[in-house]
């Protein structure tokens, strides 16, 4: 069927508002941010063109590198615990838990994902409190007092404590994504496999994992991109401290812009974050191209 000229114009008209909004609020800020990263400026001063100085400063900034490391750590741990852990949890709930319990467990795991990051951050600030916190209390209880720390107050433990909190909060969300994907897998495949003598683990490896591949890709992209955008939990729990040890790129960008009055430098950091997340997504999409599995 041929689309008439009027129909094409009508189509463009319907799409135009979304395109305009997208250009105005997504693409224009990206380009403008790139321009601003070439200037030195603050909230209180005018712009001065400095070329690539902000990027040179970044390369020599130890907090930038430690923040990047923290983001990478966040991404690696999140892929292991959220994507792999969420997949396993979803499979366990779908295959092994029956009746009402299934709904209860789904809710229990998912509830943290709907809590405000600020609320969760404050909650874990108490849990990690070196004096009255549950973690140190538990270590005392089991006779491991030697492992007690000021979890958010020491450079060596602060970022890992935040990462741990994030896994607790987000694994349920990824689990639900996998449950949705698993419910689309025909039961007959499992029944046939079990008749052929497959174990549950074999069925998981040979049926579930391949058939939720697209969801795995999506979850991995979401998790890795999210890991490079982490900001709120860091700000609420440590504000990047102690001694800047728990900054991520986003929190360091925020601090550079709004506390250190280095807007140009912050814009350069934003460009780096954009490039990293974009590159990570493109690489994953490329690696998974044409590998969708269907039985």
């Amino acid at each position: 069927m041929q689309t008439s000229r009027r129909g094409r114009w009508s189509m463009l008209l319907w799409v135009a508002p979304a395109v305009v909004l997208l250009v105005l609020f997504v693409y224009y800020p990206v380009v403008e941010n790139l321009r601003l990263s070439l200037f030195r400026w603050s909230a209180f001063s005018r712009e001065t063109f400095v070329g690539l100085d902000n990027y040179e400063t970044m390369a020599a900034d130890p907090v930038f590198w430690s923040s990047l490391f923290n983001n990478v750590a966040y991404a690696v741990v999140s892929v292991v615990f959220q994507v792999f852990g969420g997949l396993v949890l979803a499979a366990v709930l779908e295959e092994l838990v029956r009746g009402r319990l299934k709904g209860i467990f789904r809710t229990v795991y998912f509830v943290p994902a709907v809590l405000s990051l600020t609320v969760v951050g404050l909650l874990f600030t108490f849990i990690y409190n070196p004096q009255i916190g549950l973690v140190n209390g538990f270590l005392d209880l089991v006779g491991l007092a030697g492992l007690k720390h000021s979890w958010l107050g020491e450079s060596a433990t602060a970022i890992w404590s935040i990462i741990a909190m994030s896994q607790w909060q987000s694994v349920g969300y990824v689990m639900v994504l996998f449950i949705v994907a698993m419910q689309r897998i025909p039961r007959e495949l499992y029944e046939a496999a079990y008749i052929d003598g497959a174990s549950r683990i074999q069925a998981f490896r040979r049926i579930t994992v391949p058939l939720v591949r697209e969801m795995t890709l999506l979850a991995t992209i979401i998790t890795i991109s999210g890991a490079f955008l982490v900001m709120n939990e860091v700000w609420v729990m440590t504000a990047g401290g102690p001694n800047n040890s728990s900054h991520t790129l986003a929190s360091w960008m925020y601090k550079s812009a709004f506390f250190n009055d280095q807007m140009g430098y912050a814009a350069a950091l934003a460009v780096v974050i954009f490039v990293i997340t974009l590159a990570a997504s493109i690489v994953q999409l490329f690696l998974n191209r044409g590998k969708a599995v269907q039985y």
Binding site: F44, Y128, G153, E154, S155, P242, A257, F258, F259
Partner: protein, 440 residues
């Protein structure tokens, strides 16, 4: 070079207490009444007192002002202490600063002045209104001879102590830093784990220690030179001694793992009498009263003292950490008349007394704290502030942001054992060099 910012404010003054009493006695017409209701327009007003305990005061004052000025509208923007820092920057960058906005004294306000974002209020704050303030509070907002801010609160840092716990453990009120360390040792020997409750989650509580210790260990003239970004070097040996003194205080007195504890959590340990001492701002005294929610036993048994100075010191033993907080008027405000009138109303004697009565805060308005409207410690603290030889403005707002960050991060690193005092001095010197370069 700016004559005031970058050095401890001169004299927060003698006069406050004496004048408080004197003015209170004859205060009927002490503060001029703002204009009488013929103003018309709308202003925005940003403050940093969003805590539910404090907002009723501001709501009430704004409502009373609007009742007197029915043709005026005020958009109130309430922020937290932490949140207002970035909110102001966002607003400044986007040229959307409110007509009246909060700002700390020191380099923080100077940024707005340098950016042409703060109105010169010298001509506006004059006559009786000007005379109603303690002079040192006005001086904190004066740069190059021009007044840019209206002081609203008066604050200073003190160690509060539980008199009963001191007596029960045979500890006298320390008068020198050495005695303080010995007192902490005594408490620990008697089984008190945390002689001085301390939470440093966001870094500023330790900076308040450093503000006072720098004033003790570094001669005032050197301090003034170094706190000015254009001339700061931080090469005086007193800076290292001050950091080492802080390390000593930490070892002997402060809560271990303090970087992981908020100031409020630490304060709970003082309130429940687990810790006999706590370093707090005078504006927090209210929470130590029964009206402020403190247990009756503590409320009846606390007193305050300055962080004791070392026995021998090249700095100013009479210096006191603290500063007024205040409000600026946007240089681009189209409703300057209303903004000035509102600030005059906000700082009238009547509202200053209400501030002290309702919130327990000290006001720079002379005669605002009396035995009739506040608790006994608050009246005495005004006297004590008046006896300070200098007010040392908070280190994280008086210095260039790079220097402030070097202190904030460095002292946190000292607390978790990853840096020494010498490392921090080196960081501060490097930051001062960067700051100096940026001003040239």
């Amino acid at each position: 070079m700016n004559p005031v910012a970058g050095r401890p404010i001169r004299r927060l003054l003698v006069i406050v207490a004496m004048a408080s009493v004197a003015f209170a006695a004859c205060s009927g017409g002490g503060t001029p009444a703002p204009s009488g209701g013929d103003l018309e327009g709308k202003i925005s007003f940003l403050h940093k007192y969003a805590d539910p305990r404090y907002t009723p005061y501001f709501d009430a004052v704004v409502a009373a002002y609007l009742a007197d000025n029915p043709k005026v509208e005020i958009e109130v923007i309430a922020e937290t202490d932490q949140g207002v820092k970035d909110k102001l920057r966002v607003m400044a960058a986007s040229n959307t600063l409110p007509d009246v906005y909060f700002s700390w004294a020191g380099d923080f306000t100077k940024k707005f002045v340098r950016g042409d974002l703060a109105r010169d209020l010298t001509a506006d704050v004059s006559g009786d209104w000007r005379a109603s303030f303690t002079p040192a509070a006005l001086e904190a907002y004066t740069y190059d001879g021009k007044l840019y801010g209206v002081p609203f609160t008066l604050d200073a840092k003190y160690i509060v102590f539980n008199k009963k716990l001191l007596a029960d453990n045979g500890v006298n009120v320390p008068t020198t830093l050495e005695e303080l360390l010995a007192a902490c040792d005594t408490f620990k020997d008697k089984g008190v784990k945390d002689p001085m409750a301390f939470g440093n989650q966001f870094g500023w509580p330790a900076i308040h220690f450093m503000t006072q210790l720098n004033a003790y260990y570094v001669p005032p003239e050197t301090l003034a030179k170094d706190y000015d970004p254009a001339t700061g070097e931080f090469t005086d040996p007193g800076y290292l001694q001050a950091l080492e003194a802080f390390a000593d205080i930490n070892t002997h007195c402060l809560t271990p793992g303090a970087n992981g504890i908020s100031h409020e959590n630490a304060q709970a340990n003082f309130l429940n009498s687990s810790s006999p001492m706590h370093y707090i701002e005078a504006v927090e005294f209210q929470v130590l009263t029964e009206a402020g929610g403190a247990p009756a036993e503590l409320a009846a048994n606390w007193d305050f003292m300055k962080l004791p100075a070392p026995a021998t010191t090249p700095g100013d033993k009479g210096a006191l950490t603290g500063a007024p907080d205040g409000f600026l008027i946007n240089q681009s405000s189209k409703e300057v008349d209303i903004a000035v009138d509102f600030l005059q109303y906000l700082t009238s004697l009547e509202n200053a007394q209400k501030l002290t009565k309702d919130l327990g805060w000290l006001s720079p308005v002379i005669g605002s704290a009396t035995t009739d409207n506040t608790f006994e410690q608050n009246v005495r603290v005004v006297q004590d502030i008046s006896e300070a030889s200098n007010m040392a403005i908070w280190l994280d707002t008086v210095t260039h942001i790079d220097v402030a960050n070097a202190y904030l991060n460095g002292v946190q690193a000292m607390l978790d054992g990853t840096k020494t005092a010498a490392d921090v001095v080196a960081d501060v010197q490097a930051a001062a060099a960067t700051a100096k370069a940026s001003t040239q």
